[in-house]
Symmetry: C2
Subunit: 283 residues, 2 copies
């Protein structure tokens, strides 16, 4: 048990990376992982995300650790294909590397069958599975967890003890009760219906107002999708002047980013707000 997925990543970096080691990350990808690995002195290799998930072609034999978000890639929302998952597992096995399966957003899936976690596919070998309760509960709660190969349990236990002894017990006890009594399952079921309605409203509004000028990715799962608007000039600044906040994907790219590509989160907005936002945007 750790303080959210960020501490899980930090413990992995502390135990598995030495300065100068090579680590691979998704491009575009989660800044929390990139900044952390750089702070640990790692050399980063950015691997592009295709429609099947993080590409395996560009990986080097020197890479010791790969950070990936297979359920709902951050930020694109792409779900890694079964074939790609198996390729990565095979690659990690061959090279003795570790895959960090950061499953930050696996609970909400709206269409298509859920794929098995890489951790289960590989029977745990070479995979560190990272989960968090921040997304399904609330972000002020700092409870995440790691599932590590058996031989790493003891080093991780000691590293956590040295870092901050243990995570707060009151929240862990409350969460355990919440789980045991079935509330979390009910909560996720209820939220899945609610979020799906909001997602559908957003997709519908995008389709009606933008049609083919809006290219949507990653809408099959999670709490956000990415949308690329074509031929729109500097959409973000103009939208902001009219009260619509847009979150660009810029900061998730290492080098060249994609113009007018945005993260559209739908879980925390009313259907009415989502409809009005898109209407304002098209105007």
């Amino acid at each position: 048990m750790v303080n959210g997925s960020q501490q899980a990543l930090d413990l992995c970096a502390r135990l598995l990376l030495d300065p100068g080691d090579e680590a691979a990350v998704e491009e575009p990808g989660y800044p929390g992982a990139k900044q952390l690995f750089l702070a640990h002195g790692a050399k980063l290799r950015a691997l592009p995300v295709t429609d099947s998930g993080i590409a395996i072609d560009g990986v080097s034999a020197l890479t010791k650790l790969v950070h990936m978000t297979p359920s709902h890639q951050f930020p694109t929302g792409v779900s890694m294909s079964l074939a790609r998952r198996l390729e990565w597992i095979e690659w990690a096995r061959t090279h003795g590397a570790v895959l960090l399966e950061d499953d930050y957003d696996s609970e909400y899936r709206y269409s298509g069958p859920p794929l098995p976690a890489m951790h289960s596919l590989a029977d745990g070998a070479g995979i560190i599975y990272i989960g968090t309760f921040s997304n399904v509960m609330f972000r002020g709660l700092r409870i995440g967890y790691l599932v590590v190969p058996k031989e790493l349990i003891e080093p991780f236990r000691i590293a956590k003890w040295m870092a901050d002894r243990h995570s707060p017990l009151v929240e862990q006890a409350a969460l355990a009760d919440f789980l045991h009594d079935g509330h979390l399952e009910r909560h996720i079921r209820r939220m899945r219906r609610l979020y799906k309605r909001r997602r559908d409203v957003l997709l519908e509004a995008l389709d009606r107002h933008f049609g083919r000028r809006a290219i949507v990715r990653g809408d099959a799962a999670g709490l956000h999708m990415t949308v690329r608007f074509s031929g729109a000039g500097d959409l973000q600044a103009r939208a902001e002047r009219h009260g619509v906040g847009l979150s660009s994907t810029d900061i998730y790219y290492f080098s060249r980013s994609v113009p007018n590509e945005f993260i559209l989160g739908f879980s925390a907005e009313t259907e009415r707000n989502l409809r009005e936002g898109i209407r304002t945007l098209v105007r």
Copy 2:
């Protein structure tokens, strides 16, 4: 705000120590600091604790960081004298070193006037002050804090953000209310009276049953004292056979430890238990 004093120490080590750097610690001293600095690749210098606190003589000009517990040295319970505090502050100023003032146990003082924190004596220059609520509240609560020189605020903020974003908000909000409404102050006042009675009972029992065969240190403050029993053979094993648990100071020494020196915590025991324990011990 951090997850207890252990995370405060870890952030200090991460930001202020490079592998091979020299750090000084108290002998005997807190294992949580020693193990952590070693894990960060530091070379440790152990400085003996005298009746005025951690000795300054043996410190080297290369030392970058000194860990100290001036209010109630752990484990001896010695309180650092004003003169020694000023010497250390002057030394740190001259050498551009940092003193970690670990004030884990400053709230309970039973006799003599409280000394000003080194942090206030030095007006914050060269001192990082570490405080915790674990001792005055309960250990399952992981809330501690750091007061760092102005120029270090930003690096510490970033390091904490990378390590685990932030500490849990629910407990922080509850603790803030508890503080603002004056409950913490009342709680400490009430506990000080209770702990003082227990301490007095323990001192009295030691005096009656052991007299000069028990040498007591560090009873002016905190939740424990250290006691050295003379001419007693292997007291610990024999005490355990009779149901009295004794916590040796062995593990707090680097090299030679003091035979039959024990930490006697009195805050969590009833007066009756304390009296009976000492009676059993003398038998």
